[in-house]
Amino acid sequence: MEAKLNKKIEKKTGILSTLINVLVPILLALIIAIIPILIQNENPFKVYFYMIFGNFTSFDNIATLFHTMAPLILTGMAIGISFKAGLFNMGVESGVIVSGFVTAVLGYYLKSWPKGVLIPFLFLVGAICGIIVLIIPAILKAYLNVNEMVVTLLLNYAYIDILKYLTTYVDGIRDKQAGYIKTFTIGQNASLTGFLGSSFTLFFFIAILIFFILLFLIKRTKLGYRIDALGKNTCYSEAVGLNVKKSIIGIMLLSGAIAGIAGAGWLMSDKKSYALDFSGSPGLGWDGMVISLLGAHSPIGILISSLFYGILKAGVNYVSFNTIVPGQIILIIQGLLILFLSFKIFTNKSSIEYIRLKNFINKCELYFEKKKNKRQKIEVDKE
């Protein structure tokens, strides 16, 4: 009876503290962002009004909102799984741009392929690009314990320079008729067209589908345990017999594949050709980081916060259209959000946290014991 009550209280306080942990940073960021708006001599309430409610004024705008959300869900998940496993993987951004570039080039050259084959093929190629981008940092982290954050951040710069070179100087990639540096526009068969003339495409459903596949993997298979265990304590995981190296590589590559799909989908549904500002500013990968932090790296949280962040990101267009504030205000809000999300108001250092941790360790031990028993059984059978 008492245990049940404790659990109830624990659940309630848990939800309350997470809510406060998320809402207070959002409010603080929006309040501090008033200062640069005031410098521009603009009414902050008007700006926030357009930013939030501008999205819901017409069917087209709502469609645009969901369209903006699609890559954000994916990059949010890509960052979320690696951050939760304690891997500060910043290679999501490079995964997005590399797969976008490759999709643009292939979408142009393979435009004679039928639509039903070409689009799945391009998504697959995008995922593979994301994996290739992350394979070096993953192996370095797993086998040599090289700091993955430094490596991925440095390689980001390298990939940006490589893609810049390829789009600018290579014949057959750059579209010289265009007024700015970009690749050829992809063929009709490679592009995802919007329903009912809006910008809302199939990509949103693909993103949601991938989200639910990931949710299933995390909640119902051992992937979720691996991620949790790695994030909580690598030493413990290794001592207990979890294959840390394989898990790190697996999680990083999965994250890369999701990022690649995001890049390919964003190119096919929105940009249609690779230009130097393909990922936008802030890039989709960095958006994913804010979303993942807002959602506390949990799948459902990431879905909700990608809706919230999508509102801000799509709303900025209406802000710069209706007021004198430039769209760069979103960059400042993003930075402030990350800053205030970096600390927790409720750290839950009480006995509740202790009980939770104990439960988790018990679960882990049970899981590994089961596995050990299974292995022993197999060995006995073999003998």
């Binding site: 314990n145 100087y169 290794e238 970096s342």
Partner: protein, 305 residues
């Protein structure tokens, strides 16, 4: 021989901000705080020194403004990391994002694309010896150094002295190794952390000044281009020791200078040569990790964390 001279001079120019940022980041690293925000600290240093130089047209005033604001940013970072017990990796990353956003926003508010900082004419401040032009390598080594070069040398010597023979430096090392033990000994941990982080921010801010005012002589939001992360790689490779971190920073500066000089002579592949420093650093990081691993007596990769 002339090429070697050019490469040497370029090495010093490119290595200077990396060295400053490495030395600053190293202080935080000794406290067991890996400051990912070095990039942002440098950009903000460059932004405020740029604004100062642009409006007052004075080198010294720009330097002072840079120092004041860098200290302030260091204080904010320290407040988050110490008082609010934040995840300092994410705080550092937030500072990177805010720095980029703020510089872009301020430039747009001023209705400009960049800030021209050539008004102070940093070239004229360089120390030039007249007698050495004909001596090959020596000329590249000692001639035409900017004031910041000498400031960097002074900072380096100061840091070595602080870490090796003052109480403050010892306390920093103690806190980095075991904070609880330091607290138990009655060391004022928070105060020392605040001081060290502000000192670190000041030095890193000078790195931004070196890039904006002396190296590029122009301020745009993308002038730093990964220098902060290169610095992080440098003190990782150098294991947190000032002298070996300095060597790695110089090595990375050399890689940048080589790429720059080659690109100058082969403009058709310039774009691809830009990646050389980044790839070189990743390779160096890998090699040092392999060496570290061989020396280590522990079993398993993750035991030391």
């Amino acid at each position: 021989m002339k090429v070697i001279d050019v490469i040497l001079i370029n090495t010093f120019i490119f290595a200077l901000p990396i060295v400053l940022s490495t030395l600053g980041g190293l202080i935080a690293y000794k406290l067991n705080i890996v400051n990912i925000g070095l990039e942002g600290f440098m950009l903000l240093g460059g932004l405020f020194s740029g604004l100062g130089v642009y409006y007052t047209k004075s080198y010294v005033v720009g330097l002072l403004i840079c120092l004041i604001f860098s200290g302030l940013i260091g204080l904010i970072y320290a407040f988050f990391a110490i008082k609010l017990k934040s995840n300092f990796i994410i705080t550092g990353f937030a500072i990177n994002v805010i720095a980029g956003a703020l510089s872009a926003y301020i430039l747009i508010t001023m209705d400009r694309k960049d800030l021209d900082l050539n008004v102070v004419n940093a070239e004229n401040l360089k120390l030039v010896f007249s007698g050495t032009e004909n001596i090959p390598i020596l000329n590249g080594l000692i001639n035409s150094h900017s004031p910041m070069f000498f400031i960097t040398i002074i900072i380096f010597i100061l840091l070595v002295v602080i870490f090796n023979s003052t109480r403050f430096g010892t306390y920093i090392k103690v806190i980095g190794e075991n904070e609880k033990a330091a607290r138990a000994q009655g060391i004022k941990v928070d105060l020392i952390k605040y001081l060290a982080l502000i000192l670190s921010a000041l030095i890193v801010g000078l790195g931004g000044f070196a890039i904006a005012v002396e190296q590029i002589k122009l301020f745009t939001p993308d002038i730093i281009a990964g220098t902060g992360f290169i610095a992080i790689a440098a003190f990782y490779c150098g294991n947190g020791k000032p002298s070996s971190s300095l060597l790695y920073a110089l090595l990375f500066g050399l890689a940048k200078a080589l790429a720059f000089t080659l690109a100058f002579n082969m403009p058709q592949v310039e774009g691809i040569l830009k990646i050389v420093p980044y790839v070189a650093i990743v390779i160096v990081l890998t090699v040092t990790a392999i060496i570290k691993r061989r020396k280590s007596l522990m079993r398993g990769v993750y035991q030391d964390e």
